[in-house]
Symmetry: C2
Subunit: 301 residues, 2 copies
Protein backbone atom coordinates (compact mmCIF):
# COMPACT_ATOMS: atom_id res chain seq x y z
CA UNK A 1 0.00 0.00 0.00
CA UNK A 2 1.61 3.28 -1.01
CA UNK A 3 1.93 6.56 0.83
CA UNK A 4 1.80 10.09 -0.53
CA UNK A 5 3.70 12.63 1.57
CA UNK A 6 3.82 16.39 1.16
CA UNK A 7 6.35 18.43 3.09
CA UNK A 8 9.62 20.28 2.80
CA UNK A 9 12.69 19.20 0.88
CA UNK A 10 15.61 21.36 1.81
CA UNK A 11 19.27 22.05 2.29
CA UNK A 12 20.38 22.22 5.91
CA UNK A 13 23.42 23.53 7.70
CA UNK A 14 23.56 22.10 11.19
CA UNK A 15 25.86 22.87 14.07
CA UNK A 16 25.92 20.90 17.31
CA UNK A 17 28.56 20.73 20.05
CA UNK A 18 29.81 17.63 18.20
CA UNK A 19 30.30 19.04 14.73
CA UNK A 20 29.07 21.12 11.84
CA UNK A 21 27.72 19.96 8.51
CA UNK A 22 27.00 22.32 5.64
CA UNK A 23 24.50 21.98 2.81
CA UNK A 24 23.28 18.53 3.77
CA UNK A 25 19.92 17.04 2.79
CA UNK A 26 17.05 18.03 5.07
CA UNK A 27 13.33 18.75 5.16
CA UNK A 28 10.36 16.98 6.72
CA UNK A 29 9.41 15.05 3.56
CA UNK A 30 12.93 13.65 3.17
CA UNK A 31 13.25 12.28 6.70
CA UNK A 32 9.70 10.94 6.48
CA UNK A 33 10.26 9.22 3.15
CA UNK A 34 13.62 7.71 4.02
CA UNK A 35 12.00 6.14 7.09
CA UNK A 36 8.76 5.02 5.43
CA UNK A 37 10.46 3.50 2.36
CA UNK A 38 11.67 0.66 4.57
CA UNK A 39 8.08 -0.56 4.72
CA UNK A 40 6.26 0.55 1.58
CA UNK A 41 6.26 2.69 -1.59
CA UNK A 42 6.54 6.41 -0.99
CA UNK A 43 5.50 9.20 -3.35
CA UNK A 44 6.90 12.59 -2.38
CA UNK A 45 5.23 15.91 -3.22
CA UNK A 46 7.26 19.09 -2.78
CA UNK A 47 9.35 21.61 -4.67
CA UNK A 48 13.03 22.51 -4.94
CA UNK A 49 14.98 25.16 -6.81
CA UNK A 50 17.48 24.60 -9.61
CA UNK A 51 20.22 24.85 -6.96
CA UNK A 52 19.15 21.55 -5.39
CA UNK A 53 22.21 19.28 -5.53
CA UNK A 54 22.03 16.34 -7.90
CA UNK A 55 23.52 14.11 -5.21
CA UNK A 56 20.56 14.76 -2.92
CA UNK A 57 18.02 13.90 -5.62
CA UNK A 58 19.95 10.77 -6.44
CA UNK A 59 20.05 9.65 -2.85
CA UNK A 60 16.25 9.84 -2.62
CA UNK A 61 15.70 8.04 -5.91
CA UNK A 62 18.32 5.38 -5.20
CA UNK A 63 16.38 4.51 -2.06
CA UNK A 64 13.29 3.79 -4.14
CA UNK A 65 11.42 6.99 -3.33
CA UNK A 66 9.18 8.32 -6.09
CA UNK A 67 10.09 12.00 -6.57
CA UNK A 68 7.93 12.72 -9.61
CA UNK A 69 5.83 15.03 -7.45
CA UNK A 70 8.87 17.10 -6.47
CA UNK A 71 8.89 19.94 -8.98
CA UNK A 72 12.09 21.75 -9.86
CA UNK A 73 11.15 25.39 -9.98
CA UNK A 74 13.05 28.18 -11.68
CA UNK A 75 11.23 30.74 -9.53
CA UNK A 76 13.60 30.65 -6.62
CA UNK A 77 16.03 28.68 -4.58
CA UNK A 78 15.58 25.55 -2.50
CA UNK A 79 14.34 25.86 1.08
CA UNK A 80 17.36 26.36 3.34
CA UNK A 81 17.66 26.14 7.10
CA UNK A 82 20.63 26.74 9.33
CA UNK A 83 20.28 25.66 12.94
CA UNK A 84 22.47 25.40 15.99
CA UNK A 85 22.03 23.06 18.96
CA UNK A 86 23.31 23.61 22.46
CA UNK A 87 24.51 20.79 24.74
CA UNK A 88 20.95 19.89 25.68
CA UNK A 89 20.50 18.88 22.01
CA UNK A 90 16.91 20.14 21.90
CA UNK A 91 15.13 23.23 20.54
CA UNK A 92 17.71 24.42 17.99
CA UNK A 93 18.31 28.10 17.47
CA UNK A 94 17.44 29.02 13.89
CA UNK A 95 20.46 30.92 12.58
CA UNK A 96 18.83 31.57 9.22
CA UNK A 97 15.94 30.30 7.14
CA UNK A 98 15.07 30.88 3.47
CA UNK A 99 11.66 29.62 2.42
CA UNK A 100 12.56 29.88 -1.27
CA UNK A 101 10.33 27.94 -3.64
CA UNK A 102 8.32 26.47 -0.75
CA UNK A 103 6.89 29.95 -0.15
CA UNK A 104 4.94 29.76 -3.42
CA UNK A 105 4.42 26.00 -3.58
CA UNK A 106 1.25 25.03 -5.39
CA UNK A 107 1.50 21.28 -4.91
CA UNK A 108 0.48 18.93 -7.65
CA UNK A 109 0.06 15.25 -6.83
CA UNK A 110 0.97 13.24 -9.94
CA UNK A 111 -1.98 11.45 -11.52
CA UNK A 112 -0.66 7.98 -10.75
CA UNK A 113 -0.33 8.81 -7.01
CA UNK A 114 -3.82 10.21 -6.50
CA UNK A 115 -5.35 6.91 -5.52
CA UNK A 116 -2.86 6.28 -2.71
CA UNK A 117 -4.39 4.69 0.39
CA UNK A 118 -2.23 6.50 2.91
CA UNK A 119 -1.52 10.21 3.04
CA UNK A 120 0.87 12.08 5.29
CA UNK A 121 0.83 15.85 5.45
CA UNK A 122 4.22 16.67 6.97
CA UNK A 123 4.81 19.96 8.70
CA UNK A 124 4.20 22.80 6.27
CA UNK A 125 1.62 25.55 5.66
CA UNK A 126 -1.87 24.14 6.41
CA UNK A 127 -3.13 25.67 3.14
CA UNK A 128 -0.64 23.54 1.22
CA UNK A 129 -1.59 20.50 3.29
CA UNK A 130 -5.26 21.08 2.41
CA UNK A 131 -4.46 21.40 -1.30
CA UNK A 132 -2.76 18.02 -1.30
CA UNK A 133 -5.56 16.44 0.69
CA UNK A 134 -8.02 17.58 -1.97
CA UNK A 135 -6.05 15.87 -4.72
CA UNK A 136 -5.85 12.42 -3.16
CA UNK A 137 -9.18 10.85 -3.98
CA UNK A 138 -10.07 8.50 -1.14
CA UNK A 139 -7.27 7.74 1.27
CA UNK A 140 -7.96 5.16 3.98
CA UNK A 141 -5.86 7.03 6.53
CA UNK A 142 -4.77 10.67 6.57
CA UNK A 143 -2.25 11.82 9.16
CA UNK A 144 -0.62 15.21 9.60
CA UNK A 145 1.96 17.11 11.57
CA UNK A 146 2.14 20.83 12.31
CA UNK A 147 4.18 23.24 14.44
CA UNK A 148 3.87 26.26 16.74
CA UNK A 149 4.35 28.69 13.83
CA UNK A 150 1.12 27.52 12.16
CA UNK A 151 -0.78 27.40 15.45
CA UNK A 152 0.21 31.04 15.93
CA UNK A 153 -0.34 32.23 12.38
CA UNK A 154 -2.83 29.98 10.57
CA UNK A 155 -5.02 28.56 13.31
CA UNK A 156 -8.22 28.77 11.25
CA UNK A 157 -6.76 26.88 8.30
CA UNK A 158 -5.19 24.38 10.68
CA UNK A 159 -8.56 23.74 12.33
CA UNK A 160 -10.17 23.17 8.94
CA UNK A 161 -7.45 20.64 8.23
CA UNK A 162 -7.85 18.91 11.61
CA UNK A 163 -11.52 18.35 10.82
CA UNK A 164 -10.41 16.20 7.90
CA UNK A 165 -7.57 14.04 9.23
CA UNK A 166 -7.61 10.78 11.17
CA UNK A 167 -4.34 11.14 13.04
CA UNK A 168 -2.45 14.18 14.29
CA UNK A 169 1.23 13.64 15.16
CA UNK A 170 2.76 16.54 17.10
CA UNK A 171 5.15 17.13 19.98
CA UNK A 172 4.07 17.78 23.53
CA UNK A 173 4.56 21.55 23.62
CA UNK A 174 2.53 21.86 20.43
CA UNK A 175 -0.24 19.73 21.93
CA UNK A 176 -0.33 21.98 24.98
CA UNK A 177 -0.34 25.11 22.82
CA UNK A 178 -3.04 23.87 20.47
CA UNK A 179 -5.34 22.76 23.30
CA UNK A 180 -4.36 25.40 25.85
CA UNK A 181 -4.26 22.59 28.42
CA UNK A 182 -1.17 21.72 30.47
CA UNK A 183 -2.23 18.17 31.37
CA UNK A 184 -1.79 15.83 28.44
CA UNK A 185 -4.86 13.65 29.03
CA UNK A 186 -7.09 16.70 28.85
CA UNK A 187 -5.09 18.24 26.00
CA UNK A 188 -5.59 15.05 24.01
CA UNK A 189 -9.34 15.08 24.54
CA UNK A 190 -9.63 18.69 23.37
CA UNK A 191 -7.55 18.00 20.28
CA UNK A 192 -9.62 14.95 19.36
CA UNK A 193 -12.67 17.20 19.67
CA UNK A 194 -11.16 19.23 16.82
CA UNK A 195 -11.38 16.26 14.46
CA UNK A 196 -8.63 13.63 14.59
CA UNK A 197 -9.75 10.26 15.94
CA UNK A 198 -6.18 9.58 17.07
CA UNK A 199 -3.44 11.74 18.49
CA UNK A 200 0.22 10.85 18.78
CA UNK A 201 2.27 13.06 21.07
CA UNK A 202 6.02 12.94 20.47
CA UNK A 203 8.10 13.52 23.59
CA UNK A 204 11.62 13.33 22.19
CA UNK A 205 13.93 11.28 24.40
CA UNK A 206 10.92 10.40 26.55
CA UNK A 207 9.04 8.47 23.89
CA UNK A 208 5.52 8.96 22.62
CA UNK A 209 1.88 8.69 23.64
CA UNK A 210 -0.89 7.33 21.45
CA UNK A 211 -4.45 8.43 22.25
CA UNK A 212 -7.84 7.44 20.95
CA UNK A 213 -11.17 8.32 22.54
CA UNK A 214 -11.27 5.01 24.37
CA UNK A 215 -7.69 4.02 24.70
CA UNK A 216 -4.17 5.13 25.47
CA UNK A 217 -0.71 3.69 24.95
CA UNK A 218 2.63 4.90 26.34
CA UNK A 219 5.77 4.05 24.42
CA UNK A 220 9.26 4.83 25.67
CA UNK A 221 11.99 5.96 23.30
CA UNK A 222 14.97 3.80 22.48
CA UNK A 223 17.93 4.64 24.73
CA UNK A 224 21.05 5.75 22.89
CA UNK A 225 24.80 5.80 23.45
CA UNK A 226 25.32 8.57 20.95
CA UNK A 227 23.27 11.54 19.76
CA UNK A 228 25.06 13.63 17.15
CA UNK A 229 22.19 15.53 15.51
CA UNK A 230 18.52 15.42 16.55
CA UNK A 231 17.29 17.14 13.36
CA UNK A 232 14.53 15.19 11.66
CA UNK A 233 13.82 12.79 14.53
CA UNK A 234 10.14 13.74 14.64
CA UNK A 235 9.67 13.42 10.87
CA UNK A 236 11.51 10.10 10.93
CA UNK A 237 9.21 8.92 13.72
CA UNK A 238 6.19 9.80 11.57
CA UNK A 239 7.73 7.99 8.60
CA UNK A 240 8.38 4.84 10.62
CA UNK A 241 4.87 4.98 12.02
CA UNK A 242 3.05 5.57 8.71
CA UNK A 243 5.32 3.21 6.81
CA UNK A 244 4.51 0.37 9.17
CA UNK A 245 0.80 1.23 9.25
CA UNK A 246 0.63 1.31 5.44
CA UNK A 247 2.47 -2.01 5.21
CA UNK A 248 -0.29 -3.62 7.31
CA UNK A 249 -2.79 -2.31 4.77
CA UNK A 250 -5.61 -1.90 7.27
CA UNK A 251 -7.97 0.87 8.20
CA UNK A 252 -7.85 2.56 11.58
CA UNK A 253 -6.62 -0.02 14.08
CA UNK A 254 -5.23 0.73 17.51
CA UNK A 255 -3.17 -2.47 17.84
CA UNK A 256 -1.38 -1.69 14.60
CA UNK A 257 -0.86 1.92 15.62
CA UNK A 258 0.87 0.77 18.81
CA UNK A 259 3.38 -1.21 16.78
CA UNK A 260 3.68 1.75 14.41
CA UNK A 261 4.64 3.99 17.32
CA UNK A 262 7.31 1.49 18.34
CA UNK A 263 8.70 1.38 14.78
CA UNK A 264 8.63 5.18 14.69
CA UNK A 265 10.72 5.33 17.85
CA UNK A 266 13.17 2.79 16.48
CA UNK A 267 13.64 4.62 13.18
CA UNK A 268 14.09 7.97 14.97
CA UNK A 269 16.76 6.43 17.19
CA UNK A 270 18.88 5.75 14.10
CA UNK A 271 18.42 9.25 12.64
CA UNK A 272 19.92 11.04 15.63
CA UNK A 273 23.05 8.89 15.65
CA UNK A 274 24.59 10.90 12.82
CA UNK A 275 24.13 14.20 10.99
CA UNK A 276 21.35 14.75 8.45
CA UNK A 277 20.06 11.54 6.83
CA UNK A 278 23.46 9.81 6.88
CA UNK A 279 22.46 6.98 9.21
CA UNK A 280 18.81 6.85 8.15
CA UNK A 281 19.65 6.75 4.46
CA UNK A 282 21.91 3.72 4.81
CA UNK A 283 19.71 1.60 7.07
CA UNK A 284 19.19 -2.06 6.37
CA UNK A 285 15.95 -3.86 7.17
CA UNK A 286 17.77 -6.30 9.50
CA UNK A 287 19.09 -3.42 11.59
CA UNK A 288 15.56 -2.10 12.02
CA UNK A 289 14.13 -5.47 13.00
CA UNK A 290 16.96 -6.13 15.43
CA UNK A 291 16.49 -2.84 17.22
CA UNK A 292 12.71 -3.27 17.20
CA UNK A 293 13.09 -6.61 18.98
CA UNK A 294 15.47 -5.03 21.49
CA UNK A 295 13.03 -2.15 22.01
CA UNK A 296 10.22 -4.58 22.83
CA UNK A 297 12.41 -6.52 25.20
CA UNK A 298 13.48 -3.38 27.12
CA UNK A 299 9.97 -2.10 27.57
CA UNK A 300 8.22 -5.34 28.48
CA UNK A 301 7.60 -6.13 32.13
CA UNK B 1 10.28 -8.59 55.37
CA UNK B 2 10.64 -5.24 57.07
CA UNK B 3 12.23 -2.01 55.88
CA UNK B 4 14.14 0.58 57.87
CA UNK B 5 14.01 4.07 56.39
CA UNK B 6 15.88 7.16 57.49
CA UNK B 7 14.93 10.56 56.09
CA UNK B 8 13.15 13.77 56.91
CA UNK B 9 9.88 14.16 58.77
CA UNK B 10 8.61 17.67 58.40
CA UNK B 11 5.90 20.28 58.25
CA UNK B 12 5.27 21.68 54.78
CA UNK B 13 3.50 24.72 53.45
CA UNK B 14 2.79 24.26 49.77
CA UNK B 15 1.41 26.65 47.20
CA UNK B 16 0.50 25.67 43.66
CA UNK B 17 -1.68 27.44 41.08
CA UNK B 18 -4.49 25.21 42.40
CA UNK B 19 -4.33 26.01 46.10
CA UNK B 20 -2.33 26.51 49.23
CA UNK B 21 -2.01 24.20 52.22
CA UNK B 22 -0.29 25.23 55.43
CA UNK B 23 1.50 23.09 58.01
CA UNK B 24 0.75 19.78 56.36
CA UNK B 25 2.72 16.58 56.87
CA UNK B 26 5.80 16.30 54.68
CA UNK B 27 9.33 14.92 54.52
CA UNK B 28 10.98 12.17 52.49
CA UNK B 29 10.58 9.49 55.19
CA UNK B 30 6.83 10.14 55.49
CA UNK B 31 6.02 9.83 51.80
CA UNK B 32 8.30 6.79 51.56
CA UNK B 33 6.73 5.05 54.55
CA UNK B 34 3.13 5.75 53.60
CA UNK B 35 3.82 4.16 50.22
CA UNK B 36 5.89 1.21 51.46
CA UNK B 37 3.47 0.29 54.26
CA UNK B 38 1.05 -1.01 51.64
CA UNK B 39 3.44 -3.90 51.08
CA UNK B 40 5.39 -4.53 54.26
CA UNK B 41 6.37 -3.35 57.77
CA UNK B 42 8.15 -0.03 57.89
CA UNK B 43 10.40 1.29 60.67
CA UNK B 44 11.07 5.00 60.43
CA UNK B 45 14.20 6.71 61.77
CA UNK B 46 14.21 10.49 62.04
CA UNK B 47 13.70 13.34 64.47
CA UNK B 48 11.04 15.99 65.10
CA UNK B 49 10.71 18.87 67.55
CA UNK B 50 8.17 19.23 70.31
CA UNK B 51 6.13 21.39 67.90
CA UNK B 52 5.33 18.39 65.70
CA UNK B 53 1.55 18.11 65.57
CA UNK B 54 -0.01 15.15 67.36
CA UNK B 55 -2.31 14.59 64.39
CA UNK B 56 0.66 13.98 62.08
CA UNK B 57 2.18 11.40 64.46
CA UNK B 58 -1.14 9.71 64.78
CA UNK B 59 -1.63 9.51 61.04
CA UNK B 60 1.68 7.69 60.65
CA UNK B 61 1.00 5.29 63.51
CA UNK B 62 -2.58 4.62 62.46
CA UNK B 63 -1.22 3.45 59.11
CA UNK B 64 0.88 0.83 60.85
CA UNK B 65 4.22 2.63 60.55
CA UNK B 66 6.66 2.01 63.39
CA UNK B 67 7.84 5.44 64.59
CA UNK B 68 9.86 4.31 67.59
CA UNK B 69 13.01 5.51 65.80
CA UNK B 70 11.60 9.02 65.38
CA UNK B 71 12.96 10.90 68.37
CA UNK B 72 11.17 13.94 69.74
CA UNK B 73 13.92 16.42 70.47
CA UNK B 74 13.70 19.43 72.77
CA UNK B 75 16.72 20.96 71.02
CA UNK B 76 14.82 22.70 68.29
CA UNK B 77 11.82 22.75 66.07
CA UNK B 78 10.65 20.32 63.42
CA UNK B 79 12.05 20.57 59.88
CA UNK B 80 9.90 23.00 57.91
CA UNK B 81 9.72 23.68 54.20
CA UNK B 82 7.64 26.17 52.28
CA UNK B 83 7.56 25.77 48.52
CA UNK B 84 5.74 27.29 45.60
CA UNK B 85 5.02 25.68 42.21
CA UNK B 86 4.41 27.47 38.96
CA UNK B 87 2.03 26.18 36.25
CA UNK B 88 4.61 23.73 34.97
CA UNK B 89 4.24 21.96 38.38
CA UNK B 90 7.94 21.09 38.52
CA UNK B 91 11.01 22.42 40.34
CA UNK B 92 9.34 24.31 43.18
CA UNK B 93 10.77 27.56 44.41
CA UNK B 94 11.80 27.19 48.06
CA UNK B 95 10.20 30.13 49.85
CA UNK B 96 11.75 29.17 53.19
CA UNK B 97 13.40 26.21 54.84
CA UNK B 98 14.24 25.54 58.50
CA UNK B 99 16.39 22.48 59.09
CA UNK B 100 15.57 22.49 62.83
CA UNK B 101 16.30 19.26 64.68
CA UNK B 102 17.36 17.51 61.47
CA UNK B 103 20.46 19.72 61.45
CA UNK B 104 21.84 17.93 64.49
CA UNK B 105 20.25 14.53 63.93
CA UNK B 106 22.31 11.69 65.37
CA UNK B 107 20.12 8.84 64.21
CA UNK B 108 19.58 5.83 66.41
CA UNK B 109 18.02 2.73 64.89
CA UNK B 110 16.00 0.98 67.62
CA UNK B 111 17.46 -2.36 68.68
CA UNK B 112 14.53 -4.37 67.33
CA UNK B 113 14.90 -2.82 63.85
CA UNK B 114 18.62 -3.43 63.43
CA UNK B 115 18.20 -6.80 61.77
CA UNK B 116 15.92 -5.47 59.03
CA UNK B 117 16.52 -7.02 55.62
CA UNK B 118 15.81 -3.90 53.59
CA UNK B 119 17.20 -0.44 54.20
CA UNK B 120 16.31 2.80 52.47
CA UNK B 121 18.34 5.93 53.00
CA UNK B 122 16.01 8.68 51.86
CA UNK B 123 17.37 12.03 50.79
CA UNK B 124 19.27 13.60 53.68
CA UNK B 125 22.89 14.38 54.64
CA UNK B 126 25.12 11.49 53.45
CA UNK B 127 26.81 11.47 56.87
CA UNK B 128 23.48 10.69 58.49
CA UNK B 129 22.76 8.05 55.84
CA UNK B 130 26.12 6.41 56.62
CA UNK B 131 25.43 6.41 60.36
CA UNK B 132 22.19 4.55 59.82
CA UNK B 133 23.81 2.11 57.42
CA UNK B 134 26.36 1.24 60.11
CA UNK B 135 23.63 0.37 62.60
CA UNK B 136 21.70 -2.08 60.45
CA UNK B 137 23.62 -5.31 60.79
CA UNK B 138 23.28 -7.19 57.52
CA UNK B 139 20.64 -5.89 55.15
CA UNK B 140 19.99 -7.87 51.99
CA UNK B 141 19.34 -4.72 49.94
CA UNK B 142 20.37 -1.14 50.64
CA UNK B 143 19.00 1.64 48.45
CA UNK B 144 19.46 5.38 48.74
CA UNK B 145 18.39 8.68 47.29
CA UNK B 146 20.26 12.00 47.26
CA UNK B 147 19.95 15.47 45.73
CA UNK B 148 21.94 18.21 44.02
CA UNK B 149 22.68 19.95 47.34
CA UNK B 150 24.70 16.94 48.59
CA UNK B 151 26.40 16.42 45.22
CA UNK B 152 27.54 20.05 45.49
CA UNK B 153 28.45 20.07 49.16
CA UNK B 154 29.27 16.56 50.38
CA UNK B 155 30.49 14.72 47.32
CA UNK B 156 33.20 12.81 49.19
CA UNK B 157 30.79 11.49 51.84
CA UNK B 158 28.27 10.71 49.12
CA UNK B 159 30.86 8.69 47.20
CA UNK B 160 31.74 6.73 50.34
CA UNK B 161 28.05 5.96 50.71
CA UNK B 162 27.65 4.96 47.05
CA UNK B 163 30.41 2.39 47.52
CA UNK B 164 28.17 0.66 50.05
CA UNK B 165 24.68 0.65 48.50
CA UNK B 166 23.07 -1.71 45.99
CA UNK B 167 20.62 0.69 44.40
CA UNK B 168 20.70 4.44 43.85
CA UNK B 169 17.35 6.11 43.09
CA UNK B 170 17.71 9.69 41.80
CA UNK B 171 16.17 11.98 39.23
CA UNK B 172 17.62 12.59 35.78
CA UNK B 173 19.20 15.98 36.42
CA UNK B 174 20.93 14.57 39.51
CA UNK B 175 22.19 11.62 37.49
CA UNK B 176 23.64 13.98 34.90
CA UNK B 177 25.22 16.15 37.60
CA UNK B 178 26.71 13.25 39.54
CA UNK B 179 28.19 11.64 36.42
CA UNK B 180 28.91 14.82 34.47
CA UNK B 181 27.45 13.03 31.42
CA UNK B 182 24.49 14.34 29.41
CA UNK B 183 23.55 10.99 27.81
CA UNK B 184 21.78 8.76 30.29
CA UNK B 185 23.25 5.43 29.13
CA UNK B 186 26.75 6.74 29.76
CA UNK B 187 25.73 8.54 32.95
CA UNK B 188 24.34 5.26 34.30
CA UNK B 189 27.55 3.40 33.57
CA UNK B 190 29.65 6.00 35.37
CA UNK B 191 27.36 5.97 38.39
CA UNK B 192 27.43 2.18 38.62
CA UNK B 193 31.23 2.46 38.55
CA UNK B 194 30.89 4.42 41.81
CA UNK B 195 29.37 1.43 43.57
CA UNK B 196 25.64 0.74 43.10
CA UNK B 197 24.85 -2.40 41.10
CA UNK B 198 21.54 -0.84 40.07
CA UNK B 199 20.46 2.67 39.21
CA UNK B 200 16.91 3.95 38.97
CA UNK B 201 16.48 7.29 37.24
CA UNK B 202 13.22 9.08 38.00
CA UNK B 203 11.94 11.24 35.15
CA UNK B 204 8.77 12.69 36.69
CA UNK B 205 5.85 12.63 34.28
CA UNK B 206 8.04 10.71 31.83
CA UNK B 207 8.47 7.62 34.00
CA UNK B 208 11.63 5.92 35.15
CA UNK B 209 14.61 3.95 33.90
CA UNK B 210 16.12 0.93 35.63
CA UNK B 211 19.74 0.08 34.86
CA UNK B 212 22.00 -2.78 35.78
CA UNK B 213 25.39 -3.52 34.19
CA UNK B 214 23.80 -5.98 31.78
CA UNK B 215 20.25 -4.83 31.46
CA UNK B 216 17.91 -1.88 31.11
CA UNK B 217 14.20 -1.32 31.53
CA UNK B 218 12.11 1.71 30.59
CA UNK B 219 8.89 2.33 32.49
CA UNK B 220 6.42 5.05 31.60
CA UNK B 221 4.60 7.00 34.28
CA UNK B 222 0.89 6.66 34.83
CA UNK B 223 -1.03 9.34 32.94
CA UNK B 224 -3.19 11.58 35.11
CA UNK B 225 -6.30 13.71 34.78
CA UNK B 226 -5.40 15.82 37.77
CA UNK B 227 -2.14 16.97 39.38
CA UNK B 228 -2.67 19.16 42.43
CA UNK B 229 0.67 18.91 44.23
CA UNK B 230 3.76 17.04 42.99
CA UNK B 231 5.55 17.21 46.37
CA UNK B 232 6.76 13.82 47.53
CA UNK B 233 6.23 12.00 44.23
CA UNK B 234 9.85 10.84 44.10
CA UNK B 235 9.87 9.63 47.72
CA UNK B 236 6.55 7.88 47.14
CA UNK B 237 8.02 6.20 44.07
CA UNK B 238 10.92 4.92 46.16
CA UNK B 239 8.49 3.70 48.83
CA UNK B 240 6.38 1.82 46.32
CA UNK B 241 9.49 0.32 44.77
CA UNK B 242 11.17 -0.78 48.01
CA UNK B 243 7.90 -1.87 49.59
CA UNK B 244 7.17 -4.21 46.69
CA UNK B 245 10.77 -5.47 46.58
CA UNK B 246 10.76 -6.19 50.33
CA UNK B 247 7.43 -7.98 50.02
CA UNK B 248 9.01 -10.39 47.53
CA UNK B 249 11.68 -11.13 50.12
CA UNK B 250 14.41 -11.83 47.61
CA UNK B 251 17.94 -10.62 47.07
CA UNK B 252 18.90 -8.54 44.05
CA UNK B 253 16.62 -9.55 41.19
CA UNK B 254 16.03 -7.56 38.03
CA UNK B 255 12.62 -9.03 37.25
CA UNK B 256 11.35 -8.03 40.68
CA UNK B 257 12.89 -4.59 40.37
CA UNK B 258 10.98 -4.03 37.11
CA UNK B 259 7.71 -4.70 38.90
CA UNK B 260 8.89 -2.53 41.77
CA UNK B 261 9.44 0.35 39.37
CA UNK B 262 5.90 -0.10 38.06
CA UNK B 263 4.48 -0.11 41.61
CA UNK B 264 6.57 2.98 42.41
CA UNK B 265 5.05 4.80 39.42
CA UNK B 266 1.56 3.75 40.44
CA UNK B 267 1.95 4.92 44.04
CA UNK B 268 3.45 8.24 42.93
CA UNK B 269 0.49 8.78 40.62
CA UNK B 270 -1.82 8.81 43.64
CA UNK B 271 0.35 11.17 45.68
CA UNK B 272 0.21 14.01 43.15
CA UNK B 273 -3.59 13.90 42.91
CA UNK B 274 -3.96 15.85 46.14
CA UNK B 275 -1.92 18.00 48.53
CA UNK B 276 0.58 16.50 50.96
CA UNK B 277 -0.13 12.88 51.90
CA UNK B 278 -3.92 13.25 51.71
CA UNK B 279 -4.44 10.81 48.85
CA UNK B 280 -1.50 8.57 49.67
CA UNK B 281 -2.46 8.26 53.33
CA UNK B 282 -5.95 7.03 52.54
CA UNK B 283 -5.10 4.52 49.82
CA UNK B 284 -6.65 1.09 49.81
CA UNK B 285 -4.84 -1.97 48.50
CA UNK B 286 -7.55 -2.59 45.87
CA UNK B 287 -7.02 0.89 44.42
CA UNK B 288 -3.32 0.18 44.05
CA UNK B 289 -3.85 -3.19 42.39
CA UNK B 290 -6.47 -1.80 40.05
CA UNK B 291 -4.22 1.02 38.86
CA UNK B 292 -1.25 -1.36 38.59
CA UNK B 293 -3.26 -3.59 36.25
CA UNK B 294 -4.30 -0.55 34.22
CA UNK B 295 -0.68 0.63 34.09
CA UNK B 296 0.45 -2.71 32.68
CA UNK B 297 -2.31 -2.71 30.12
CA UNK B 298 -1.45 0.78 28.87
CA UNK B 299 2.22 0.07 28.48
CA UNK B 300 2.02 -3.38 26.89
CA UNK B 301 2.33 -3.68 23.13
Amino acid sequence: MSIVVVGSVGIDTIETPFGREENVLGGSACYFSLAARNFTDVHMVSSVGEDFPQAHSELLRSRGIDTEGVTVSSDGETFRWEGRYDYDMKDPETVSVTLGVLGSLDPVVPEKSRNADYLFLANTDPEIQLKVLEQVSSPRIVACDTMNFWIDNKLQELKTLLGRVNILIINDSEARQLSEEPLMVRAARKIMDMGPEFLIVKRGEYGALLFSREDLFFAPSYMLEQVLDPTGAGDTFAGGFMGYVASRGKDLDFAGFKKGVAYGSVLASFTVEDFSVRRLGSLRKEEIEQRYAEFLRLSTM
